[in-house]
């Protein structure tokens, strides 16, 4: 039983080349073709192909979105992405949306045919160089890695610490040998960077980051070392 293929590719020349490529293969049957993203769903509904060979760049509806919809509504139709992009974000996104394979267009034609057969057999397929990537690179985008405290400059960290400890701008200016105006600017930057609206937010931030003890009464000063954002610069 041959593999039934729907070809979704907006560029005529490429479509023509692919058809030419598939024609000699007896186990592969081209059941339909389309060049419009919006039309893909209709064609899938109509032909119920085993494999959808899909270009990510399509007018009408983005290939990634088509992948998601097809995977949701026609889980039996497996999606093999054929794309110019070899960026892992695309690959990762396509996989997340339900693609079973990803073949870059500049790969050898054999890769495409092999990919179709692999995916039809229920396996995943990635052409070179994707196949050489570590598996985790295809996992969802790396999670948030930024600690807001680290966005502060060493000077801003000093000012934040002193503000959190309840010092007035004028006092901080004296302690740091800076003008009150400079301190005010630092303070405005801190508030801006940390997205804080008022002094209460600032205190809360300082407590959450262990800059000041939760309760100055119950926690001895010597234990004030739970600074998870790193110490102020030397």
């Amino acid at each position: 039983m041959s593999v039934r293929i729907l070809l979704a590719e907006d560029h005529k020349l490429v479509r023509q080349a692919l058809k030419t490529l598939l024609e000699p293969e007896e186990d592969l049957e081209l059941v339909g073709e389309t060049g419009d993203g919006m039309d893909v769903m209709e064609q899938v509904a109509k032909h119920r192909p085993d494999i959808l060979v899909l270009d990510l760049m399509m007018p009408g509806l983005n290939g990634l979105e088509v992948t998601r919809r097809v995977h949701q509504r026609f889980p039996k139709t497996r999606v093999l992405v054929l794309s110019m992009h070899q960026d892992r974000n695309y690959v990762s996104k396509a996989v997340q949306n339900g693609a079973s394979g990803y073949v870059v267009k500049h790969a050898d034609a054999d890769d495409l045919l092999r990919g179709i057969r692999h995916v039809a057999a229920g396996r995943r397929f990635f052409s070179a160089p994707i196949s050489e990537w570590p598996p985790e690179s295809l996992e969802p985008l790396s999670s948030e890695s930024l600690d807001l405290y680290d966005t502060l400059t060493p000077r801003e960290k000093e000012v934040l610490q002193l503000v959190a400890e309840g010092h007035k701008n004028a006092e901080i200016a004296k302690l740091l040998f800076r003008s009150a105006r400079t301190v005010e600017t630092h303070r405005a930057h801190i508030m801006g960077k940390l997205g804080l609206k008022n002094p209460t937010d600032l205190i809360r931030f300082a407590i959450e980051h262990g800059l000041i003890p939760v309760s100055p009464v119950s926690v001895p000063e010597t234990e004030d070392g739970s600074n998870d954002g790193g110490e102020s610069s030397p």
């Binding site: 020349l13 490529l21 960026d87 695309y90 500049h106 034609a109 966005t151 997205g195």
Partner: protein
Amino acid sequence: MADMLDYAGHPNSSPTKTSVPSAQGGRVSVQAGLERIAFLERRLQALAERNGRSAAPIVPRRSLDDAIDVLDALRAEWGRVTAECDSLRASLARLRESEARWRSIVANPFDYVAVVDRAGTFQYVNRTAPGIRREDLIGRATMYDFTFPDFHQVTREALAHVFDKGEPTYFEAYAPAPVDGWFGTVVGPIVDDGRVVAASCQTRNITAQKNVEMALRESELRIRQLTDNIEDIFFLFDTRSERVLYVSPAYEKIFGYSVEALRDNPRAWQAAVHHDDREELEARYAKLVAAGAGDRSYTFGEPHEYRIVRSDGAIAWVRSRNFAIRDATGNVTRVAGIITDITERRLERQRLAEAESKYRMLVEKLPVISYIAAPDDALTAIYISPQVEAKLGFTQAEWTGEPGLWRRQIHPEDRERVLAEVHHFRATGEALSTLYRLVSRSGEVLWFRDQAVLVVDASGAPMIVEGVMLDVSEAAEARAEQQRARAFSARLVEVQENERRRVARELHDEIGQTLTGLHYLVQTVQECHGEQPDALQEARGLIGELMRKVRDLSLELRPSILDDLGLLPALLSMIERYMNQTQVRVTFEHRGIERRFDPEVETTAYRIVQEALTNVARHAGVTHAKVQVWSDAAALHIQVTDSGAGFDLGSQLADNSKNGLHGMRERVALQRGVLETETAPGRGTRLTVQMPVGSEPKRR
């Protein structure tokens, strides 16, 4: 004191011995006269009897003549006696009168009358004070017993005066209990045979007068202390004698002349008044004195300011307030007044007036329109400087006279905004600074920078609005030009991005796809023919190379990933490529940017990071850079830090083309964001960008 002496006649004037002086020296008693007359009568009777018995004259003629002489002498003598008797009667009458007067003096209920000797011992008293017996006084007590020791000396002196000089005198002394009071005593000599034998004392209780007198003196002292020490001149002028009764010492300080000189010559006052002010001062004085009294005993004059020429020639300003004092009949007897030196005040006022005039000149000559307005929503003008007419064609009177004028002349496109700003200004009291257009009377549209402050009273309630309107039409035009330039710049950025996007897509979709097609076709041809000509294989290689180049070029121009997947994937992709192409390791930290932002924000953020990293690779000479991108509800933040060479910000800013800093700034400004660069040679570079973001945009 003199009237005390006058109030009753002095006893010295009364005779103390009854004696009638005889005529022609010798003394003839009445009895002797009568005896002589009786003798003569007897002789004449005898002569008459003898002459009657004989016809011949019995008495010789000579004897009769004698008789006649005697009778003549007798008649004369008689007349003398009679006159003497009359004189005696008159003398007695006088004596009686004198006695009556004495009696009245001695018996009067007010005075004690006594006769004392040189030692002051009482010889006689008319009555005694209650509780003192007459017999205890006469011959026993002295005046000193009834005089407070402090006054013994005065008493002694008074008695000595009377006894030694024979003249009366008066003294006052305080008598202790049981009499207890002030007494005034007139002491006079009692003379016998030209010798002072005793002294008469007439003593009156003067405690009440004395108290009044002391109270008056005390009161006067107080007033004098007050008037002597005030810095103002207080004066009292007698209109009848035209003398200065009193003038406080401040006169000397203010006028520079001595008080004595004024006492000697009251006209010195008028002479000191500046001759230009003299006439009016005198007119006012005349008016004050002549004014109708009404029921009051005082008439106040209007305060009046005039100049005086001090003794040192300096001109001083004084302020005078006079009042006329009337006696019981309503006639002005005295004029009192207070004169204050106001030279300093006057100078101060003058300085203020000068300052005011200077300020006014400034306000009215400066090329700005100043105004004072009521703190209402229409800012109803109370004052507007005259420049308004030249600028807007409305007169000052028109501008302040028509409450809604300002509001009406605001350009319709600006009106709602400006009124809202004014409302906010009034509500918060924050200074107003706004830019808007006003339409002049002739229809010309002018741009004004209007700045105003709210003036509040002590309780914080708004009183007035003070403001200035500066015609900034030229500046506004320049600004508009700048805005057009900025809009053009924005358009340029947009066009550039669109063009890049278009070219990138063209490359990717058309060239890339065509190459892809070619790529597959060549492979198909190779498979079909089995032969493997080198040329075909070479073509295949070239096609692959071309595809890669097209792909890279497309990415470089405009990564479709930014449109397709958003900022975070685009940045990840870009940084990965960047690290592949350079020696720089990048630490990328992010938070809250998996969402989608406005395409312009995404593009800007992407370009900023791209440009900053390009700079790091090109200039910093470091192996590590840190990229931090995060967002909160309000803003998207980007911070790119390296520890490299840094640069002199000033010089780099001047050379915009080199590092794209200017371009970055421009792009950020277009997103109403802020870009800050911290750098110094050798101290690395930190680029911080903050751009406002809205909620997640809808995607097509």
